[in-house]
Amino acid sequence: MALLGILLFLMIIGAVIAVETRNLLSSIVCLGAIGFLLSIVFLFLGAPDLAITQLVVEILCLVILIRATIHRRVETVAGNREFVGLAVTVVMLAIVLMLAISMMAGFPSLGTSVLDRMAQAPSHFYLLQGKAQTGVTNIVTAILLDFRAYDTLGEATVLFCAVMGALAVLRRSARRRPEEGDAGDEGEGGAE
């Protein structure tokens, strides 16, 4: 548990650097560091599927972000928006954090999952019947592709819509030259 705290602390340091640094490229690299640390945290939490997916997604995120920003004039834009003032924003965010932490008081403590608290939880059914009903030994895969396959279908729909949206946004001047097709390639990383 202490190890988990250390990893989370490193993630928060990375997040602060990613938000506050002036150079956009180092900000993106910090985002990558947070993602890889998150992947390690998932491994410690008993979620190897999530760790693998997070790694792949992180690499694709880095490719997309670096491809979008590497050739552009980016160092000039730094600093904050003069929206309501930095102090007010920080105070309000601190209040949000305090509220969130105080709401955690009624929350079951870490390490007691729903499997320990409720005998009727759906996870019991998935764990007990997953192998018999789907023939899959990895219960996460059984849930994802069999018990809750409609969720995965919806996910594929959202993915398709987002990639279509990215391609439509990146397409250059289709109204004038419809035979040219799409020239953008930034959005295609999400297609797999």
């Binding site: 989370l8 990613a18 008993g46 980016v74 920080v90 759906p122 219960i139 990639v163 959005g187």
Partner: protein, 115 residues
């Protein structure tokens, strides 16, 4: 305490979304928020010294119920991670388009955002 650190990660991302001027930095802050939320959901299903919900050779499902972590949040967070990537691609595409239109990533200089 672990939950508190996780919430702090989300709030750091929220801070970036609210205060930064650079569009790409806002996108990065949103990605940080998303990581924090995914981690929170996986922490909800965690069990102390829990194993991965994978049946091994000759293992009964009852022992899995007794010792594995909750598989349901993991399956749904897996969906969420992949959707996060697609949404990030869409946001970056919008950023690139805005850069082509205005020549900058600065949101305060994008004053023609109407119609």
């Amino acid at each position: 305490m672990i939950y508190g650190l996780c919430l702090l990660l989300i709030v750091v991302g929220l801070y970036g979304v609210v205060t930064k001027r650079n569009v790409v930095k806002i996108v990065i802050s949103l990605a940080i928020m998303e990581y924090g939320i995914n981690l929170f959901l996986v922490l909800v299903g965690y069990r102390t010294h829990g194993t991965a919900p994978i049946l091994e050779e000759g293992m009964m499902p009852e022992t899995l119920v007794a010792q594995s972590v909750d598989p349901l949040p993991q399956a749904l967070v897996l969906t969420s991670i992949v959707i996060g990537l697609a949404v990030l691609a869409l946001m970056v595409a919008l950023c690139v388009r805005l850069y082509e239109r205005y020549g900058t990533f600065d949101v305060t200089e994008m004053k023609k955002l109407k119609g």
